[in-house]
């Protein structure tokens, strides 16, 4: 087996700001093709299955309300969850941040004397970079979700919440499997083709020996139900079910915003999530477990509840609706910016529109990439339209832009230009003076088309002409007409 450090995905620390990373991504024609195809297919599937639910709007409202109820009384629901998990025989741990969560999980795995763990796909563990922490402690962490396996074997970063290898096509995947599988376990067959069936078979055989060998599994949870003390994982491949049932010890790392008040709420979300994420009426595997059951499944169950910036998000009454997110990825799939920039440009395991509102709130706006994320959107609103829990992403982006501007303290060229423009618009006579200057320009240029301008407007003219300046403003026309005696 190879050096475990080599199975680590590179982290997102020190990413350049969004426009720079996006420009580079646009130059990757293979990725651009892969993403346009994949998001196009999944968009159409989602639209079809959502379209067949007449009460979709009511479901969205119910989902948003259940989440808002949780977020409005989070401490109480977390205590209820903790009490009921404990009653069911699970051990509950609390972690303020990534470091604390990683320390707890590493300690639990070491206490079992395990040198490896199998993992269910989990955004929370990616967010805290648990695999890297485990590997630093000499523990192999094997991703068992097909796409996560592709990312891990490719020494790559996930670029999508649901489909982390969406930026890869099947011939790239075949090459990764052929090159890497043998270094960390059962090799891919020599005659592996790029047929999806053959690729899945190779992954299944590679993973099976890990499932059967591992004594500890690590998962996240899509939902944590307070009144029954249950965790829920929704998945497609059955790898989650294997991890949740075969090993003796199960450790689940769960963000504190994943709580649902009651069992009754789950029905709403099991309708919203699969249709929004994979475009399926129902996902193939839904696993629900409530603590320990003698002789059946894991005999030691730990739940690590993590904050890692979430209470910071909760403190902002406008921004907190971002915590409703159920990680479905519908906003990524529908976003024309994500489709072109790809997930890596967002510098986080949470890319796309949701990442643009979540990262600057979870991590603050100290880094260049986090400051650039609220601007990584044309505010077209397609994300809000598809969000199953009605997060008003465009309004939150605008809200966060104001925070970025506030943090910059009014000293940028942009801030000075904005103040000058605001002064001009503060009195119609100033606007009229500016219009007189513009119309002089219009008379000088005539119908000459401007194809390049220097300075801050330069990026416009890279591929776009500049409109002709008119020879009179509307209000000059109006004033002339008034002098002539008004309307016809």
């Amino acid at each position: 087996m190879s050096n475990p450090m080599q199975t680590t995905s590179p982290t997102f620390v020190g990413m350049p700001k969004f426009p720079k990373a996006a420009k580079k991504a646009l130059g990757n024609t293979q990725q651009r093709r892969n993403l346009a195809h994949a998001t196009g297919v999944i968009r159409a599937k989602r639209a079809r299955v959502v379209g067949e639910v007449p009460e979709w709007e009511a479901l969205r409202l119910a989902g948003a309300q259940a989440k808002d109820e949780t977020l409005g009384h989070l401490a109480a629901y977390l205590e209820m969850l903790e009490a009921n998990l404990a009653r069911n025989g699970a051990q509950v741990h609390w972690a303020r941040d990534a470091e604390e969560a990683n320390r707890i999980v590493v300690g639990l795995v070491q206490a079992k004397g395990a040198g490896e763990v199998v993992k269910v796909k989990s955004m929370a563990t990616q967010e805290i970079e648990l695999n890297e922490a485990l590997e630093a402690a000499g523990i192999h962490a094997w991703e068992t979700d097909l796409a996560e396996l592709i990312v891990q074997l490719g020494h790559d970063r996930p670029s999508h919440i649901l489909v982390p290898a969406i930026h890869r096509n099947r011939s790239e995947i075949r090459e990764i499997f052929r090159r890497e599988m043998g270094l960390v376990g059962r090799p891919a067959p020599d005659d592996l083709s790029d047929e999806p069936r053959r690729l899945a078979e190779a992954a299944r055989l590679h993973l099976r020996e890990k499932f059967l060998r591992a004594t500890v599994a690590i998962s996240g949870a899509n939902f944590a139900i307070a009144d029954t003390g249950s965790l829920v994982v929704v998945e497609s491949e059955g790898n989650g079910r294997m991890c949740l049932t075969l090993p003796e010890t199960l450790i689940s790392v769960v963000g504190i915003e994943k709580v649902l008040p009651s069992w009754q709420d789950l029905g709403t979300f099991l309708q919203l999530l699969p249709r929004s994420s994979t475009g399926e009426r129902m996902n193939p595997y839904t696993s629900i477990w409530s603590g320990v059951h003698e002789g059946d499944g894991p005999q030691e169950v730990h739940v690590v509840l993590i904050d890692n910036g979430r209470t910071h998000v909760l403190a902002d009454p406008v921004g907190r609706q971002a915590l409703r997110c159920i990680r479905c990825s519908a906003c990524l799939n529908t976003c024309p910016v994500y489709e072109r920039a790809g997930g890596h440009a967002y510098g986080s395991v949470y890319p796309g529109p949701i990442g643009s509102i979540l990262n600057p709130q979870l991590r603050g706006v100290a880094s260049e990439v986090d400051r650039s994320l609220p601007y990584a959107s044309s505010l077209c609103g397609a994300c809000f339209e598809v969000c199953p829990v009605r997060i008003d992403i465009p309004s939150l982006l605008v809200h966060l832009r104001a925070k970025v501007v506030e943090a910059a303290d009014g000293t940028t060229h942009e801030a000075r230009a904005m103040r000058a423009m605001a002064w001009m618009f503060g009195d119609h006579r100033r606007l009229e003076a500016a219009q007189r200057a513009a119309t002089v320009g219009g008379r000088v240029l005539g119908d000459h088309t401007i194809r390049h301008v220097p300075g801050p407007m330069g990026p416009w003219t890279g591929a776009r002409d500049v409109p002709h300046l008119p020879t009179q403003s509307f209000r000059q026309w109006w004033a002339k007409r008034e002098r002539k005696g008004g309307a016809r």
Binding site: S377, S378, A382, K403, E406, A422, G426, W460, R464
Partner: protein, 246 residues
């Protein structure tokens, strides 16, 4: 009914033909239009770039300028959307209760031109004549923020002589997005190029929309490509008649 035109600052300055067409059209339909000279900008550019403090005085100015009117008509779904969805929040943010109330009182009377004709005047056939092959781009803010629905298409369908061709992937953004077009110019241009390609696929002579800034973006690409497609605001198509063609 006292009706005021809100031209929008960029139409007033850069595309006077659109508010002129709006006035021409409304007068043809028997509506007397006033143009309160004190109007400037709705503040959207400031709000959307993160300059809420700069936008707030413009909310006050908008209210003062238009509060005396029964209907305020604007040839822009984008600014109408901003007025409906941002003015209230800006007033709240400034902690100005009186302004919040004034905004809430005024905004239900602000209409995009397509809404005013269909919902207030109760018309779809405005007597226009435009013998050209056109395609219509439903701009994001008209569609998703102002939510004008299919009113523009219904108005276009009733124009005599017109051929309206469906635009492929019509509801996808053209990539303008205000300062997005400069801050993320590469992505913006990629989006605008795809939109321009879809426009060319329709074989239309004219691309029509309800927002001139989006038309500037798509038209900028079409112009650079010498694509032979011109852009026109919906109001200009609807103002066109046999006697006075556009």
């Amino acid at each position: 009914m006292r009706v005021a035109l809100f031209a929008a600052c960029y139409n007033d300055t850069m595309w006077p033909g659109t508010p002129i067409a709006t006035v021409t059209l409304l007068e043809r339909l028997g509506v007397t239009v006033e143009f309160p000279r004190e109007q400037t900008c709705c503040g959207q550019m400031f709000t959307n770039t993160g300059y809420a403090a700069e936008a707030t005085p413009l909310v006050g100015r908008f209210v003062d300028t238009f509060t005396a009117y029964d209907a305020i008509v604007a040839p822009t779904g984008s600014c109408v959307g901003a007025i409906r969805h941002q003015h209230h929040d800006l007033a709240e943010r400034a902690g100005d209760r009186a302004l919040v109330e004034a905004v809430d009182e005024l905004t239900p009377r602000v209409y995009d031109i397509s809404e005013f004709i269909v919902d207030v005047l109760g018309l779809e056939d405005v007597g226009a004549y435009f013998p050209h092959r056109v395609t219509y781009h439903p701009t994001c803010h008209s569609l998703r923020v102002a939510q004008v629905g299919d009113k523009p298409q219904r108005l276009l369908a009733a124009v005599r002589g017109i051929t309206v061709v469906d635009l492929p992937q019509a509801t996808e953004c053209c990539g303008f997005g205000g300062t997005f077009s400069l801050k993320n110019a590469d992505i913006s241009i990629s989006m605008a190029s795809d939109k321009a390609r879809h426009v060319r696929e329709t074989g239309a002579e004219v691309l029509v929309a309800g927002d001139n800034m989006c038309l500037m973006n798509i038209g900028g690409v079409l112009g650079r490509q010498r694509a032979g497609v011109r852009t026109m605001h919906l109001a200009e198509v609807l103002a066109s008649t046999e006697e006075d063609p556009a």
